[in-house]
Symmetry: C2
């Protein structure tokens, strides 16, 4: 399955060279501690701890040994290693979970990191390590984010580290939330975007394959997210393909909200909402299987024209309307939908309900083409894994639209053949199917 | 105590006229429903609900009656009234709490509103109504925020309304989080800022006095927050002065983090941290009373020079360093500190510990001048109220600095005498004491 690339540790060292160079260009940054060659901008409290003249320093004393292992050092107050088992308050906590986030200096992550650190996502007995991946350009902003995380005093947040090399940042990651992607420049074709971002996700797939936890769960948010997730899968043959997700949860949430708005009910009455296919304008919000207060949508909303035409359009245009009103893209609600996507995998799905996620199609029960990433209805036992729902209704209207979004994903796959180890790319994308309001 | 201003309901109607005018200027906005005279841009699902041809519509049928009462209508999917007692899932929930937020289209609120809606602040059995106050200029952005709140499907979030008239938005508020303030323009003196923002807070104090819950809790975040809070108090004689807070919690959190960093311990080991005085560069982070792992800070950190000089400066410069690194002010961690401030009032303070808040000084046990708003150590039983801590240590170093910040607050008070009903303002502020990185 795809490329298998041997990883050389020497490569990692080389890759961090621009970081040191960038730090040198910035000159003297306020409050900098003595520099290490590879991690110039990371301030560590170890030196400070040495000045402390009593028992408190013993907590920090274990730290230098850890640095010698070559791991990414932690930021600021998170530098010392804390023994959670030695503290009455924390000894009943679960084992630390490590979450890597790319695009960590961006607006979506600026919401998400704080939601993760608060315990809202993984629970109040789950300590968290955050590893933030940025670019050379965003490294200072990453430091700002790490400082704000320090200032937030979240008791569950025990480690924060920042870096620009995925081979360092993804090390031992239990979760990888891949938000970062290049935005589309003016006049850029979708094919060009697929290529540029595909390259990033090929590299990140290789890095995950080499250094992440072998059972890492990956949620791809950066667009085009389905095909980016496929590229990740193909470049990470040691990680089960089932562990990769492309985020369609914001589409699902928006679809639920619009059905609720139309029916005049609260949104928690809407269930069984599937988004089928690609996170693009070919996506299919499924009103055939969705339910309102346990009843089929079509029994509650009799306005078939609205369901067949306006509903899907309204869901898809939501991001564009938001940009018009708010002047920026929907960072807060995107972040909430990432939180929802994770929660859906770590808590059991309510009886009879399901959630949508873009997942690997091989073995799917619907007859959708194999070997692509397609949003489908999923259920989870809360163990981080999922299974596809098999008892869904299908009619011609739904199936035709599923075939259209499938055709688009197969075409996108051909565009990135050079990144998935399947030969020479051939790109024939006729329409611009990027969702309005997205980059 | 200060001004008592009779409020005329007719005034409120007049005040909303610019809203209709603004909507007219914008011309046809996508997806607008038929306009109401005063609430032109608020979309309501009631009309949509009427099209629903079955039982689901009965939930929405109560709504038009509510509109006739003259209250601010709710936004979008939040329009229908939901009877929480009729639902198995929600009937054990507490009574709805109404939270008004000013500056609701800004970056701090963009974090805070989602944290409030998630249940992180008030608990998972506390349904929430959010009332968002913006300006005429930000009304479209407010709609965007409300749309993102819709799309987030928070089960506890049951009402959202938006408006630009504090007399409408503050109606029945149990909490008022006053974030909005004019930023200081280039070359603007602190005195001019006090006057401009003071006027806003005088108006908002009057509005709270007239329409909010009589026991509304008010947290002032907009700067200069201590004196803005004093102005609010003086314009809201019917609300207990004890209910008003000026936010110094971010300063407290930053101070705890810096002490932890210096001592090489995790930040949850730092307790009893007081910020005394003004939220300005005269503020006093108190290392005499603070503790690390239950021991006095001075026993753990022997570097007296660092404590007396660098510590306070580092805490105060934190916002400035963040602006340099991140390119914007610290919205996320400010929002977290507002969450912390609320949590400290609605959950019992841990035994032996306390928190800082800018509160009304009359009756304080420390000998600080009466009738100003001064940050001091507080404890709460978790009932929304607080008491001042009386057993604190005082030495010459601490007292001298407390007197300096007290002098500044007394001078600020003279600057706003025209807004507190105490005669003609006289302004003699010699230094620029705005904290770096704040507006």
């Amino acid at each position: 399955m795809g490329l298998s690339t041997a990883y050389s540790p020497a490569g990692s060292r080389l890759a961090t060279a621009p970081l040191a160079a960038a730090a040198a260009r910035r000159g003297s940054v306020q409050h900098l501690r003595p520099r290490r060659p590879l991690i110039a901008t990371v301030r560590c409290s170890v030196d400070a701890a040495k000045q402390v003249q009593d028992g408190a320093a013993t907590i920090a004393a274990q730290e230098p040994a850890r640095h010698k292992t070559g791991r990414l050092p932690r930021f600021g107050v998170f530098c010392p290693t804390y023994d959670l088992t030695s503290d009455d308050k924390t000894k009943s906590w679960k084992k630390l979970v490590t979450i890597a986030v790319s695009g960590a200096a961006g607006m979506i992550a600026n919401h998400l990191l704080f939601q993760l650190a608060s315990g809202e996502v993984f629970g109040q007995d789950q300590p968290i390590a955050l590893k933030l991946l940025g670019s050379e350009r965003s490294l200072q902003a990453l430091e700002g984010v790490a400082m704000e995380l320090e200032d937030s005093l979240y008791p569950l947040l025990r480690e924060v580290s920042i870096g620009i090399d995925p081979y360092e940042v993804f090390e031992d990651a239990d979760w990888a939330l891949l938000i970062g992607a290049k935005p589309r420049g003016p006049g850029m074709e979708r094919a060009a975007l697929l290529d540029i971002n595909g390259q990033i996700f090929a590299d990140q797939g290789k890095a995950l394959n080499t250094v992440a936890s072998p059972n890492v769960k990956v949620i791809v948010v950066g667009n085009p997210c389905n095909t980016n997730a496929l590229i990740c899968i193909k470049n990470a043959p040691n990680i089960p393909a089932k562990n990769f997700h492309a985020l369609t949860r914001l589409d699902e949430n928006r679809a639920k909200c619009q059905l609720a708005l139309k029916a005049g009910v609260f949104y928690d009455k809407v269930s069984n909402m599937t988004i089928w296919g690609n996170h693009s304008t070919t996506q299919v919000p499924d009103f055939l299987n969705a339910k309102i207060d346990g009843r089929p949508v079509k029994e509650v909303i009799k306005d078939t024209k609205w369901l067949e035409e306006e509903f899907t359009m309204t869901v898809q245009n939501r991001g564009g309307v938001l940009i018009q009103k708010w002047g920026r893209s929907s960072a807060a609600s995107t972040s909430v939908s990432i939180v929802d996507a994770i929660k859906s995998l770590v808590t059991p799905t309510p009886e009879g309900d399901w959630f949508s996620s873009g997942v690997y199609t091989t073995g799917n029960p619907y007859g959708i083409a194999e070997d692509i990433v397609f949003s489908m209805p999923c259920r989870s036992k809360g163990d981080g894994d999922y299974e596809l729902v098999s008892d869904v209704l299908m009619d011609d209207f739904l199936w035709e639209r599923i075939k259209k979004t499938e055709a688009e994903l197969l075409a996108e796959k051909k565009c990135v053949a050079h990144l998935t180890g399947e030969g020479i790319a051939f790109c024939d994308l006729r329409e611009d199917t990027m969702l309005p309001g997205e980059m």
